[in-house]
């Protein structure tokens, strides 16, 4: 029996009569990089929204570590170790790059909003180091004092991943991390996602870009018209006849 970390079971989601997802099941194994692919409108982002709590499913159950979290708000899922990134960036544009990461660490900071001391305490020095480390590993050190909004798009994407990771999630949902990146940035993305996994993080990637998915994922689920088409290794899944039909229409 595989070690399941997260499971979305028989998820159905209707938007005023339009079925965006029908009976989709996604089982994410601990320590894996799980890709979700599919043509436009296949329901990839809807599935990610259901998993992260931004949408509640019309039917079906979402479980994290065996616990039913279907009705939990996204905010309540974060302390359980579930974090996500956004396809359209949600950075704090007016805050500096470093502050974005520091705010990401908030749930681990000892500053605490109950304490009367507004400054970061000695225990938070460690977090400061971690923040600097995160900035370094995402190639953002030289931009640390710049307002996030002034960074080029590709770096903003890196920053969003850095911020999500600094919340120390156990499972990270990434919504189209490669969208809008240059070819070089895409190449850099692959080893970064791998090293996140090597540090013990489970990653679910919703992605349009087949190359990224094929190189980085252990398992791929293909969606089409809101239904799960196939699940398997990237090589198997992406070469299957059904998937070719869905993508190429032949």
């Amino acid at each position: 029996m595989a070690d399941l970390q997260m499971r979305a079971l028989d998820i159905t989601k209707h938007f005023q009569g339009v079925a965006a997802l029908t009976d989709v099941t996604l089982e994410v194994e601990r320590g894996s990089i799980h890709g979700v692919v599919g043509p436009n409108g296949a329901g990839k982002t809807t599935l990610l929204n259901v998993m992260s709590g931004f949408l509640s499913p019309s039917q079906g159950v979402v479980e994290l570590d065996g616990r039913d979290i279907t009705r939990l708000t996204p905010q309540k899922r974060v302390p359980l170790g579930l974090t996500r990134t956004f396809q359209n960036l949600r950075l704090f544009g007016g805050l500096t790059v470093r502050e974005n990461v520091l705010l990401g660490q908030h749930s681990h900071a000892r500053t605490g909003f109950l304490s009367l001391w507004p400054l970061r305490t000695a225990g938070d020095k460690e977090l400061d180091c971690e923040a600097d480390h995160a900035l370094e590993s995402f190639g953002l050190t030289e931009y640390r004092s710049r307002p996030a909004a002034t960074l080029p798009y590709g770096l903003q994407k890196q920053l969003e991943i850095a911020r999500a990771v600094s919340a120390k999630p156990r499972l990270l949902l990434m919504d189209e991390p490669a969208a809008g990146m240059t070819a070089q940035e895409r190449l850099d993305l692959v080893p970064r996602i791998r090293s996140l996994r090597d540090e013990g993080l489970t990653v679910v990637i919703v992605e349009h870009d087949m190359d990224v998915i094929a190189t980085v994922c252990d398992v791929v689920t293909v969606l089409n018209f809101g239904r799960s088409l196939i699940e398997g290794t990237p090589a198997d899944a992406l070469s299957s006849a059904e998937v070719r039909t869905a993508y190429l229409g032949t």
Partner: protein, 292 residues
Amino acid sequence: MLIQQLVNGLLLGTTFALIALSFNLVVGALDRLNFALGETAMVSAICGALFLSQLDVPFVLAFLAALVVGALIAGITFLLSFRFVSADYHTAPILSSLGVGLVLTSLVTRVLGSDQRRVPTVLKDVRIEVGPLRIVGDQLIILVVAALMTVLLYIFLNRTAWGMAIRGVSDDSDMTGLLGVPVQRVILLTFVISGTLAGASGLLTGLSFHTVSPFTGFETTLTALMVIVLGGLGNITGGVVAALMIGVIETLTVAYLSATYRDLIVFLLVGITLVARPQGLFTRNTGVVGRV
């Protein structure tokens, strides 16, 4: 003397700056205006004045009392008019906070009477004279305290974890919540700080005129609105500059034209700003207008 009037105007402007900061903080955190802040300033000032005249405490203590009263009232206003009022009705918190303001005015006049209260001179023997320019001790207090509070606010917002959280919430409150920050508590904190600033502004204004009236609450709100429209809604630095500007304009109008034109000229200026530069004189980002 023009230079004397300019200095008087700037000093008046510093008290406007505090109340404008107070409004702008709340606009930043919630994209809403707290219309009770003017009355909050008034109640704080009345309490401060009573402390000074009835209990004969030192000014510092009366000032601290005014800050505490302002913070308390703003915190209560948040709970009454914002926290549990549905965000789906944009006008509901506005009307509700206007109501809190009316209640505050009635409460003060019922309980403490509708008399004007005197704020006695604090520094009697201090005055600075540079050529024809004369600055008395109380004006110095106003200047120093207002500047100090503004600087402290900047440091708080930019250098502390709480300040960072306030800026995060004002940028994107949903996202801040997703990072595990207790958003409602941060907003309450923002209201409390804004109330502190309103309280300071109230008593310092009282000190500059040596009198406090329980009927100036809404007038203060109006002035603050003029300032933040001119400076750009939610733009903290713009608000401070606009406050100094309006202080100078009002003082010069009274000195060289007539006191009756004082508000007229400011209102005209704001009217023109709304037509020509609705984002405010000092804001480049037009997006801010869409936020309220």
